[in-house]
Each structure stands twice: as C-alpha cells, then as structure tokens.
C-alpha cells in the first residue's frame, strides 16, 4: 500500500500530526541548506572565489546543528509516540536522510577547501570542465531526491537511482583524463590532485542523493531497495505497486 504526502496529517492526535510535519519541514530546510552549500562550493571553485569557499566551510556548522536537532526530534517522537507502519517508516527515513545530508555537507566543505587551495595556486587548472559537468549532474540528482522526498514521488526517486550509475561512469572517465594530464605535465600534479578530490566529493554527493532516493521508496512503499542491482530494481518496485 503506497502512502501520499498527506498521509501523516490525518492522525486523531493533532499534536502528532504537527510533530511529523515538523520533521518533514526541518528535513527539507536542511536539504535546502545542503543544496546551497554544494552549489556555493562548486561556484567558489569554478570562479576562484575564496571568500565564498570560506563561507561554505563556516556554514557546515549549521548543517551539523540541523542534523542534531532533527535527530533529537526523531528520538522524541520514537520515545513518546512509538510510531508504527508509515509513521515509523517516516521517522526512520528522516533519521537516515539527515545522516546522508550531513555527509553531503561534509563533501561540500571538502570541495570548498580544495577551492581555497586552488585559488592560492592561481594557475590554469585542468579538469574544470569535468567538475562543471559532473556537478550539474549530481546537483540535479540531489534536487530531484529532495523533491521526491517532499512529494513522496517514487518515480522521481527511481530516476535518481538510475542516474547514479551514469555519474559513476562520468566520474570514471574524468579520472582517466585527469591521470593523462598529470602524466603529460608533472607541474600540474598538485592542482589536478585537488580537482580529483573535488570530483571524488561530487561523486559521493551523487551516492548520498541516491541513498535519499532509496529512502523515499522505503517510506512510500515499505520496500527496502538498498543493495539491489539496477536490473532487478524495476521489477521489485513494480511488483510492490
């Protein structure tokens, strides 16, 4: 039985409705902040804006605080309400999602640190095209995963899961070309290594967005699709519909 985004607002206890609504609202606020962090981190790198990179590093504390706050709210709901069925799945999905969002925040912070390093070098950096391309891809994945969470949209979530494989391929091919740059010009090794770290961070952001999308499927359908290969995924989800 699939649930909808209205499902959690129909309890006899209005207070419980409100508590679950707040969990969702706060998770979305955290999602919005993390999305902005990734966007700013990538922008600071591409534009060489070290002030913005600094700001991203500072804002990471806000992301961490939000994780603590939302986890605390989830603990209270579990202790006081002993939720069952879709309510329980919502609380579990939110706890898992905050953990992934916090990790995305850390990845944004890593990108910002490398942006600061690269802006000090002030030279021509190879690999920015790859960064731009992959960052657009993973930012779309993150945006879609958060939208899927807000709308309880499993189709959009499944799309994100499928996208992750493409990002992994793009990451692999970008790494190969960056290795070639390093072999061609040993003076570029230090800056190319930084770009590699950035790409690695972006690829991890894609993985975390993929996790978020998996939690949406769990929340809506009660189906745990983690560790399921793509080929059997559609069949599993379709069977449950």
């Amino acid at each position: 039985m699939d649930i909808t985004s209205d499902t959690h607002s129909q309890h006899i206890s209005r207070q419980f409705n409100q508590e679950l609504e707040e969990l969702k609202t706060h998770l979305m606020a955290m999602g919005g902040l993390v999305e902005k962090q990734v966007q700013d981190a990538v922008y600071s790198l591409l534009e060489g804006d070290s002030h913005l990179a600094e700001k991203v590093r500072d804002n990471d504390r806000q992301v961490n605080d939000l994780q603590l706050q939302i986890d605390d709210e989830c603990t209270r709901v579990l202790a006081r309400r002993q939720p069952a069925a879709s309510d329980l799945r919502l609380v579990l999905a939110v706890i898992r999602a905050t953990s992934d969002l916090e990790r995305i925040g850390d990845e944004a912070s890593k990108i910002a640190r490398n942006a600061m390093l690269l802006s000090e070098n002030n030279g021509n950096t190879r690999g920015l095209v790859e960064v731009r391309h992959i960052s657009e891809h993973v930012r779309k994945m993150l945006r879609d995963a958060l939208t899927a969470f807000a709308r309880f949209d499993t189709e959009l979530a499944m799309q994100v899961v499928r996208e992750d494989e493409l990002v992994d391929d793009e990451y692999g091919s970008a790494m190969r070309s960056l290795m070639t740059f390093m072999m061609e010009d040993s003076r570029s090794i230090s800056s190319v290594l930084s770009i590699m770290w950035v790409l690695r961070a972006l690829e991890r952001v894609g993985d975390h967005a993929n996790n978020l999308a998996e939690y949406v499927v769990y929340l809506v359908k009660g189906l745990d699709i983690r560790h399921t290969d793509l080929d059997s995924l559609d069949q599993k989800v379709l069977k449950k519909s």
């Binding site: 039985m1 649930i3 129909q10 309890h11 006899i12 206890s13 419980f16 002993q82 939720p83 069952a84 069925a85 879709s86 309510d87 329980l88 799945r89 009660g222």
Partner: protein
C-alpha cells in the same frame, strides 16, 4: 520459524495461511450473532501451533467474541447463534461428540481481571487437577511446582503456598491464574486483555511469560495495547466490525500493513 504460505481470503483480504500440519486452530467461515445481530461475519483464519497470535481491533469489533467462541463460552447464552466451523487440531469443536469440559481443559482462558478462587495458592492450582483425576500427592505437588514455575511465580510463592491467593498482588494473581490453567496441560491458551489491569512491571512479566510459554503451547492474545501486540505476538489479525481485515506476520503488519484500514487503525488515524 514456520514457513507461511500467503493467499487471500477474498480478493480484498490479505490473510496468511498455514499448511494443515502447522495449524492448531482452524476457523472457517465462522459467523456469530447476538440476538440476530452479527458480531462475527464469516471469519476464516488459521492459528499456527506454538506461536503467539494477537487479535487487535477497536472495541466491539468481535475479538473477545471470537476468543470466547473458541472456548464455547457462548453455549449457555440462548441469544447467540452461530454457523461455520472452528477446528481444534482438526476436530470440530461444535461436533456432538465433543466433550465441552475436555475442550475447556485443552483450551484454557485467562481474563482481563485476575480471578483467583477464594482458597490457598496451592489449592488454586490444584483445583483443575482435582476435577480432572485423582493423583498421588507427590505427583500432584510436582505438577503444581511445574505449573507455578512455568508461570514464573514459583520463586515468589514457594514459601507461602498455603496462604490465601488473595494476598498476592494483581500481577502475581494473574500469573497464578495462568499457572492454574497450565496445570491441566492445555494445548491452547486464550488471553483476553491479560495485562490491561496491571502495572507496567507486572505487564512486562506477563509478556515475558507469554513469550516463554509458546514453546509449550499455542497462545491467542486479545489486546487493545498495540505496542503489546507488536512486542509479544508472531502473527497479528486485525478485526473491524466483526470482519477480518488483515492477518499477517506481526513484523509486516506493524511496519508495512497491506491495507489502508489497518494502517489507519494502528497509526491512530481518523477513518
């Protein structure tokens, strides 16, 4: 763990079914009415052996009526009519050759309020045994010790077996009643809200007891406390308006129920 086979009672009712050799009780198209007013409507479900099955549902949904029907407690109520079939280990409990006293020995029942008899702890447990057959005292003492131990009460009462049962606390009285039922070695234990009049610690002791007893017999639990059903039962049946709405593994019913009606009830939503 039993390997349950799933099939549907009707196209709308998700019901878990069991192979005949795994069934202790089989309820088939059972319909019961009080003065013509239906209380159970064509219920079909199997209760698996050596498992805890919980019946949950709102007040008046028929769960206690079903429990009483399994024990034929409605027999003396002339306004009750029923049709359909309840089988205990393959035997129809309403068959003419069924001895009702023997049925009630095989299917013990525990009610919401503990009801020890106004006699000593020892005599309470010995009561059913004395009715059943004459036993040498040593043999009887052994069974009483075994029953009180199984009911997790022996250590608390072994030094005061001949004191009045009414001196025990509510939780101890309820365990004494369970020991009294166990003494006659039933196949099934029906528990109708067994912990709803007890404090949280006594409730946990009863729940622990239920869990331990399932190696010896089949348990059917009626409860309004859904967390209790979730904690102790292996299978959960949700009843509403005398109908079976959903019956499945407790883990599945409480995390991912198949039907919206079940979801609404266990999560406390407006229907």
């Amino acid at each position: 763990m039993l390997a349950p086979l799933t099939s549907a009672q009707s196209s709308q009712t998700p019901v878990i079914t069991f192979a005949p050799e795994q069934c202790c009780l089989s309820i088939n198209q059972f319909h019961l009415a009080y003065a013509g007013k239906p209380a159970l409507r064509d219920l079909t479900l199997d209760v698996p052996r050596h498992r805890v099955t919980a019946f949950i549902g709102p007040s008046g949904c028929g769960k206690s009526t079903l429990l009483r029907a399994i024990n034929r407690l409605h027999d003396l109520n002339e306004s009750v009519s029923h049709r359909g079939y309840i089988a205990l280990e393959g035997q129809d409990i309403h068959a003419p050759q069924m001895n009702v006293t023997e049925l009630r020995r095989r299917v013990g029942m525990v009610f919401q309020t503990p009801n020890p008899f106004p006699m000593s702890i020892y005599e309470n447990v010995a009561f059913g045994l004395r009715l059943q057959r004459r036993l040498p005292k040593r043999k009887r003492d052994d069974i009483i010790e075994w029953a009180l131990t199984s009911a997790a009460l022996w250590d608390e009462v072994k030094d005061r077996l001949h004191r009045s049962a009414w001196q025990l606390s509510g939780g101890q009285q309820q365990r004494l009643v369970i020991a009294r039922t166990l003494a006659v070695q039933p196949d099934v234990l029906l528990l109708d809200e067994p912990a709803s009049a007890l404090d949280p610690i006594s409730t946990l002791k009863i729940e622990e007891l239920i869990r331990n007893l399932k190696s010896q017999l089949t348990l059917v639990l009626v409860t309004h406390n859904m967390q209790q059903a979730a904690r102790v039962s292996d299978y959960t049946a949700f009843l509403q308006n005398g109908e079976l709405v959903e019956f499945g593994l407790t883990d599945q019913v409480f995390t991912n129920p198949r039907l919206q009606r079940t979801e609404n009830y266990i999560t406390g939503r407006m229907t």
